[in-house]
C-alpha cells in the first residue's frame, strides 16, 4: 500500500469515523447537560424559528459594529467563502462528493479555483498576522487557535501545490493533501473548528432565549 492508497483509504476512513463520533460526542455532551426551564412569560414566540433567524442574521455584523470589525470580518468572509468554494466548487472535489453522495453540481474552472485558493490563503495569513499582533487576540489566543489555523490552511497549501509540479510528484502531493484533510477532519470536532456545527447550536440558543424576550438578537 503506497502513501496515496493509505491516504485515500484508511486515513480518510478513520478521519471520517473520528469526525462523526467526535461531532456527535460534543453535541450530545452539551445537549444532555441540565436544561433550565424558563417560566417567564414570553413577549414573542421564540422556539426554532427564532433559532433559525439568528443563525442567519448573525452571519452579518450589525451596522454599529461594522467599522470597528471591518478588517477581520472581511478577511473572515474571504476565508470562509474561499474555503467553501475550493472545497465544494473544485471539480475533482465535486467528483469526490459525487462518488460519496451520488450528487454532483457544476464547478468552477480550475484557474478560478486556484485564484480563490490563493485568496483564501492570503486571508488566512492576514488573520494569523492579526492574531499575532493584535493585543486582544494575543491575550485570548491559545494553542487551539494556532493549531486550528494550521490544520485549516494546510490542505489549502497542499492543494495549491498540486498543480505546481516542481517539488513533488502529483500523487505524493495528492496523498499529502488528502492526509492533511484527514488531519483537519480529525481535529475539527475537538477544537474551535467545532464552530462548523456549534454555530447552529450557539446562535440558535441565543435566538431562542432572546427572541422570546423580544430583545435584540
Amino acid at each position: 500500500m503506497d502513501l496515496l492508497e493509505f491516504a485515500r483509504g484508511p486515513a480518510l476512513q478513520w478521519a471520517a469515523y473520528i469526525l462523526v463520533a467526535g461531532t456527535i460526542w460534543r453535541i450530545v455532551g452539551i445537549v444532555l447537560l441540565e436544561k433550565k426551564p424558563d417560566y417567564s412569560e414570553p413577549r414573542k414566540s421564540g422556539g426554532y424559528p427564532a433559532a433559525i433567524k439568528v443563525i442567519w442574521t448573525r452571519a452579518f455584523t450589525a451596522e454599529p459594529f461594522a467599522k470597528a470589525t471591518l478588517y477581520p470580518k472581511m478577511m473572515a468572509y474571504v476565508m470562509h467563502i474561499g474555503l467553501f468554494a475550493v472545497i465544494f466548487l473544485f471539480t475533482p472535489h465535486i467528483v469526490f462528493f459525487e462518488g460519496w453522495t451520488g450528487f454532483d453540481w457544476p464547478g468552477l474552472p480550475n484557474s478560478v479555483i486556484f485564484f480563490i485558493g490563493v485568496a483564501t490563503l492570503v486571508s488566512g495569513v492576514a488573520l494569523l498576522v492579526r492574531r499575532l499582533t493584535n493585543p486582544v487576540l494575543k491575550l485570548i489566543s491559545n494553542f487551539d487557535d494556532y493549531f486550528s489555523w494550521f490544520v485549516t490552511l494546510l490542505p489549502v497549501v497542499t492543494g495549491l501545490l498540486i498543480p505546481v509540479r516542481a517539488l513533488f510528484r502529483y500523487e505524493d502531493l495528492l496523498a499529502i493533501h488528502i492526509l492533511s484533510v484527514a488531519l483537519l477532519l480529525i481535529w475539527l470536532p475537538f477544537g474551535k473548528l467545532g464552530h462548523t456545527f456549534l454555530v447552529f447550536v450557539t446562535r440558535g440558543t441565543t435566538g431562542m432565549v432572546f427572541e422570546r424576550r423580544g430583545a435584540k438578537t
Binding site: D145, V201, G214
Partner: protein, 453 residues
C-alpha cells in the same frame, strides 16, 4: 465581615480625570482559607453550567470582536477588558469540569484548576469593568451571551468572598434591611407621606386588594423622591386600582448584581409574595433597568413557576396606557434624546415602549446615533456605580456616552432608569457637563391632562 486590603485604601477624594490603569485592589469577605475560596468559586461556577452556557462556552472562536463592542476596551485599549476574557475563569472551569472533553482537559492538564491569584485578578474584570450591558453579546458572530455569563461568574466570586467591598456592603444592606440604601418600611412610608403632601397627590399604601402593585427603587426613594409622586399621579390618572406595599416595595436586586443567588431570590420573592397577597394582576416596575431583568425575565424562574401576574416596566405601562387612551398628555415642545437602559431595551426587549411614549408627548425625539438596542451604557450598571474604586474607569468610559448624547444636540436628555440617572448625575457633576438627565416618567407626569379622566 468585609475587609479592605491595606495596600490600596478606599479613596473617595482622589483626582478622577486623567486615566491611568486602575490599581487593582482585591477586596475579600469572610475568613475563608485560600483553598476554600477556590473551592467555593469553582462550586458556584460549575453550578451554572447547563446546555445553554455550555453551548456558549464551547462556541467561542477567540475572534476578539467583542472587544470592539465593550466601552471599557474601546476607551482604554486594555486587552484585559475584552468581554470574553472577563469570563475566562468561568470558561476554564467549564472546560475542565463539565465540558464534553473535560476528562481529557483534566487528564493532560490542558486546563488548570482556577487559582486564587486568578480569582483576585478577575475581581476587577468581573465587577469594576463590566456593567453587564450586553453590547458584546450583539457583536458576537457566534451569538454568545457574554453578559449573562458575567452575571453567572459573579456567583462564584461572591461565594469565594472576592467581590468589591462597596458592592458587598450594598448588597448586604439590601439583604438585611430590604433596601440597598437602608430604606425601611417606615422610612418608605414617611417619604411617601412627604411626597403626597408636597405634590398634593393621593398615594395608596398597603391596600389589601389591588389590581396593580407599584414598586420603587431605593435610589428613587432616596435621591429622586419625585418619582414616587409621579408614579402615583400617573396610576391615579389612569384610574387604576393600585397600591404601594410596605412589605414589598423594593424593586432593585443587589443580590443579583453582586452574585448572591439566595439574596436575589429573597428580594424577588418578597415582591412576588406582596403581589400575590393583594391579588395583583400587574406589577409595575419602576424606572430601573436591572429590576426589569430581575423580575420580568428572572422572577418566574426564582419563583419556580410562571408568575400569576404581568410584569411591566413603567415605560411599558406608560406606552400601553397612552396607546389605550387611559391617560392623555399635553404636547411638549422640546427636542429630546432618550438613553436606553441596557436591561430594559437591549436585554429586556422593551425598546419600543419608550419611543411610543415620546411620540405621545409630541417631542422632537432625536435618536442617538446607534441608540436603542446598540446604545452605549451609562457605565454604572451591574452594580458598578456603587464601586468607588471603579469611578475613574467609569468616568473614562462615560466619554462615549457624552459624545453620543451631544451629537444629537437635543434640549433634554431622558431615560427610564434611576441607576442610569444616578451614574449620569455623578458623571455630569464630575465633568461639569451641560446635560442633566431627566426621567421619562416624570415628564409624562408633569404633562398629564389630569382633568380628562
Amino acid at each position: 465581615m468585609t475587609t479592605v486590603d491595606g495596600r490600596h485604601t478606599i479613596d473617595r477624594e482622589a483626582e478622577r480625570i486623567a486615566y491611568k490603569p486602575p490599581e487593582i485592589r482585591h477586596d475579600t469577605q469572610g475568613d475563608l482559607s485560600t483553598e476554600e475560596r477556590v473551592e467555593h468559586a469553582m462550586h458556584h461556577f460549575v453550578k451554572n453550567f447547563n446546555t445553554q452556557t455550555a453551548s456558549y462556552l464551547d462556541g467561542c472562536l477567540h475572534c476578539g470582536m467583542c472587544a470592539d463592542a465593550c466601552h471599557y476596551h474601546v476607551r482604554t485599549d486594555d486587552p484585559r477588558y475584552t468581554p470574553i476574557w472577563k469570563i475566562e475563569l468561568f470558561k476554564q472551569a467549564y472546560k475542565r469540569e463539565v465540558g464534553p472533553f473535560a476528562f481529557f482537559y483534566r487528564l493532560f492538564g490542558f486546563k488548570k484548576k482556577v487559582t486564587i491569584k486568578q480569582l483576585e485578578e478577575w475581581q476587577h474584570l468581573l465587577y469594576d469593568s463590566c456593567t453587564v450591558c450586553g453590547r458584546c453579546s450583539l457583536v458576537c458572530p457566534m451569538g454568545i451571551d457574554i453578559a449573562g455569563m458575567v452575571s453567572m461568574a459573579r456567583h462564584g466570586m461572591f461565594k469565594a468572598g472576592l467581590i468589591p467591598h462597596e458592592l458587598h456592603e450594598t448588597a448586604k444592606k439590601a439583604a438585611e434591611t430590604g433596601s440597598p440604601l437602608g430604606v425601611t418600611a417606615e422610612k418608605f412610608e414617611d417619604r411617601l407621606e412627604w411626597m403626597a403632601d408636597e405634590h398634593d397627590v393621593e398615594i395608596p399604601v398597603d391596600v389589601e386588594q389591588a389590581d396593580v402593585l407599584a414598586c420603587m427603587s431605593s435610589i428613587e426613594i432616596q435621591k429622586y423622591p419625585e418619582s414616587m409622586a409621579a408614579t402615583a399621579r400617573i396610576l391615579n390618572a389612569a384610574g387604576e386600582s393600585w397600591t404601594f406595599r410596605t412589605d414589598g416595595f423594593e424593586a432593585t436586586n443587589f443580590g443579583m448584581l453582586s452574585g448572591n443567588t439566595e439574596w436575589q431570590k429573597e428580594a424577588t420573592l418578597k415582591l412576588i409574595n406582596a403581589a400575590v397577597k393583594i391579588g395583583a394582576k400587574t406589577v409595575v416596575l419602576p424606572e430601573c433597568g436591572h429590576a426589569y431583568m430581575a423580575m420580568r425575565w428572572m422572577g418566574a424562574n426564582m419563583y419556580g413557576k410562571p408568575l400569576p401576574f404581568k410584569v411591566l416596566h413603567i415605560s411599558e405601562y406608560l406606552a400601553d396606557a397612552l396607546n389605550a387612551g387611559k391617560i392623555k398628555v399635553k404636547k411638549v415642545d422640546k427636542s429630546v434624546t432618550y438613553h436606553d437602559p441596557c436591561q430594559v431595551s437591549r436585554r429586556g426587549g422593551a425598546t419600543k415602549a419608550a419611543r411610543d411614549v415620546l411620540k405621545h408627548l409630541g417631542v422632537d425625539h432625536r435618536e442617538m446615533k446607534y441608540g436603542g438596542d446598540y446604545n452605549w451604557c451609562c457605565g454604572g450598571g451591574g452594580g458598578v456605580v456603587t464601586i468607588k474604586r471603579a469611578d475613574e474607569l467609569r468616568h473614562r468610559v462615560f466619554k462615549l456616552k457624552m459624545d453620543q448624547v451631544e451629537a444629537t444636540e437635543a434640549d433634554e436628555l431622558l431615560s427610564s432608569c434611576a441607576n442610569c440617572r444616578q451614574s449620569f448625575d455623578d458623571s455630569q457633576e464630575h465633568f461639569g457637563w451641560k446635560y442633566k438627565m431627566g426621567s421619562l416618567m416624570e415628564m409624562v407626569a408633569e404633562n398629564l391632562e389630569e382633568d380628562n379622566s
